[in-house]
């Protein structure tokens, strides 16, 4: 068959009418189908908007469950690789995790609560004025300009306001803790099914994509999914390393509350650019207030700077996927927008969300170049 034929169009008709009649029928059918599709789409959009207030409270636990599932997935896959049934593999991972959390809490809780208690006592007993005096005395010894008494007054007023706000906020925090107890049940429940039936859920979602976009969507879905997984796991590993190193450094410098400060530094490290500064601040403040010696303050700053250097030169380039790199200017803008929308949590998740969106856009552009979608 060596003749040139046009490629058939997807009109789905194979009847034997005369061409003019056929064209009109096909056009009508296409028009009706388009209209039906539009109506369905409009209906779906209205339904989602109407349901949004009801499902909004579900989005946070679902997001947390998805995030944690990404971290646990490789372990479940490893167990499945060893010949264990998927459901049982998820169960085993859950048991190990529950055991680790239990042992960890049992070991760390007395120490942590002691740290919190002494921290609280220090704030209560010494009253804020004394701490400020101490802080000012230490600083003014080193930096003569700070001898101005107005600074002390202003700082103490600010600090009093801050403690009032803290009290108000702590009530909100109690309510938040109570509501977060429901997460303790819902999040693991969701995680179990995401880990066990994740593939089936993915298959179900991708099933609805029309044939012409199917291969493209499948490709997009898998590429974005694996990049997101690598990004989340990489970030978490880097944060754990930073936290461990910070704890070791602070402990060896004899800084109190080293554990809490180290964990904060590790978590804050997930925010690019601002994170390391935010993470180092509590360490520096505690060093000033508690030890009062400039050497330990400088020691803390040097330790954090060294850890940052290691992170930038070694950990992040090796561990975090290079493919989801975002321009520094965009990172700052995205973090600020995230902060405006959802506070500190917004700042934490802004860059990962933007990175995923960037991967999606890149893959969509690639797909439009390589797939014939319009014919």
């Amino acid at each position: 068959m060596k003749q040139l034929l046009p490629i058939p169009q997807n009109n789905g008709s194979g009847s034997h009418f005369n061409p003019e009649q056929q064209v009109i029928i096909v056009m009508n059918r296409q028009l009706i189908r388009r209209l039906m599709q539009l109506l369905l789409l409009a209906g779906a959009v209205i339904l989602v908007i109407w349901m949004l207030p009801y499902i909004k409270s579900l989005l946070t636990p679902l997001g947390i469950a998805l995030f944690l599932s990404y971290i646990l997935k490789p372990w479940v896959n490893k167990l499945e690789n060893a010949g264990i049934n998927r459901g049982a593999a998820v169960g085993i991972v859950f048991l190990i995790l529950a055991g680790a959390i239990f042992i960890g809490l049992k070991m760390l809780l007395p120490g942590l609560s002691q740290e919190f208690k002494t921290l609280a006592q220090a704030v209560q007993s010494e009253d804020t004025g004394a701490i400020i005096d101490k802080l000012q005395a230490t600083l003014s010894q080193q930096i003569p300009i700070l001898k101005n008494p107005n600074i002390a007054r202003e700082v103490s007023i600010k600090l009093h306001n801050f403690s009032a706000t803290l009290l108000r906020k702590s009530f909100n925090l109690i309510f938040a803790i109570i509501s977060s107890f429901t997460y303790i049940i819902t999040v693991p429940f969701m995680m179990f099914f995401i880990l066990k039936d994740g593939r089936r859920i993915k298959k179900f979602i991708i099933q609805v994509v029309p044939n012409r976009y199917f291969e493209m969507s499948l490709n997009l879905f898998y590429k974005a999914n694996s990049q997101l997984g690598n990004y989340i796991r990489g970030q978490l590993l880097v944060s754990s390393i930073i936290a461990t190193l910070s704890i070791i450094a602070l402990y060896s410098l004899n800084i109190p509350y080293f554990f809490i400060i180290g964990v904060i530094a590790g978590l804050a490290n997930m925010i690019p650019y601002f994170g390391p500064i935010v993470g180092a601040l509590p360490g520096v403040i505690v060093a000033i207030v508690e030890t009062g010696s400039m050497e330990s303050v400088i020691g803390v700053i040097v330790a954090f700077a060294l850890i940052q250097l290691l992170d930038n030169v070694l950990f992040s380039p090796v561990i975090v996927s290079k493919s989801v790199q975002v321009h520094p200017l965009l990172v700052i803008l995205v973090i600020l927008i995230g902060g405006n929308i959802a506070g500190i949590l917004g700042m934490l998740v802004a860059v990962p969300i933007f990175a995923v969106a960037q991967v999606f856009v890149k893959e969509i552009i690639w797909s439009f170049k390589h797939y014939r979608l319009t014919t």
Binding site: L4, N10, G12, E80, Q207, E215, L218
Partner: protein, 175 residues
């Protein structure tokens, strides 16, 4: 106790799976899979329905996976300037196409069009790679079969190439 309502459903289900298993077993890559392995494998494949004249994929597009025809008919065509130039094959139930895309993302070498309303099973590279990682024994079995099939094709192409070379040399000598 006989219950016509449920009995019917189970029978229908069983029959469908049996025919699906038979179709999968016709494909050399899956011919030696055990019953349990075939069941695991069925979870990976996507069931797609193509209308008559609907394009499965175009030549030059990045390949994502292979297709196995369950019902219907698919034509494979070579294109020149987006126009069909040559019919390469007409494939029927139990036959498959696009299996090279299971290995890499290289462009499709031909266009595939459904010639009838067709039920087609799709097996895609990311799912196969995931299977290789999760169930290495089953994954290796499939990969080995795929490699054997490609080796066989290479052997045939070599033989054809040799024959063509001989013909060319003979024609040069005759001239």
């Amino acid at each position: 106790m006989a219950n016509s309502y449920w009995n019917n459903i189970f029978e229908k289900n069983g029959k469908h799976q049996l025919s699906l298993d038979n179709i999968l077993r016709k494909v050399p890559i899956f011919s030696e899979l055990k019953k349990g392995e075939l069941r695991e494998f069925r979870r990976l494949v996507h069931n797609r329905y193509f209308k008559k004249n609907e394009v499965v994929f175009y030549e030059g597009e990045p390949g994502v996976g292979m297709y196995i025809i369950e019902t219907g008919m698919v034509g494979i065509y070579k294109e020149v300037n987006n126009q069909i130039k040559e019919e390469l094959a007409i494939l029927r139930p139990g036959e498959f196409f696009g299996e090279m895309a299971l290995l890499d993302e290289s462009p499709r070498s031909a266009t595939a069009i459904a010639l009838e309303n067709s039920q087609i099973l799709g097996l895609f590279r990311p799912d196969l790679f995931d299977l290789i990682y999760r169930k290495p024994r089953l994954g290796n079995k499939i990969l080995l079969k795929l490699a054997q099939m490609i080796a066989e094709r290479l052997r045939l192409s070599n033989a054809e190439l040799y024959e063509l070379k001989q013909q060319l040399e003979n024609s040069v000598i005759i001239r």
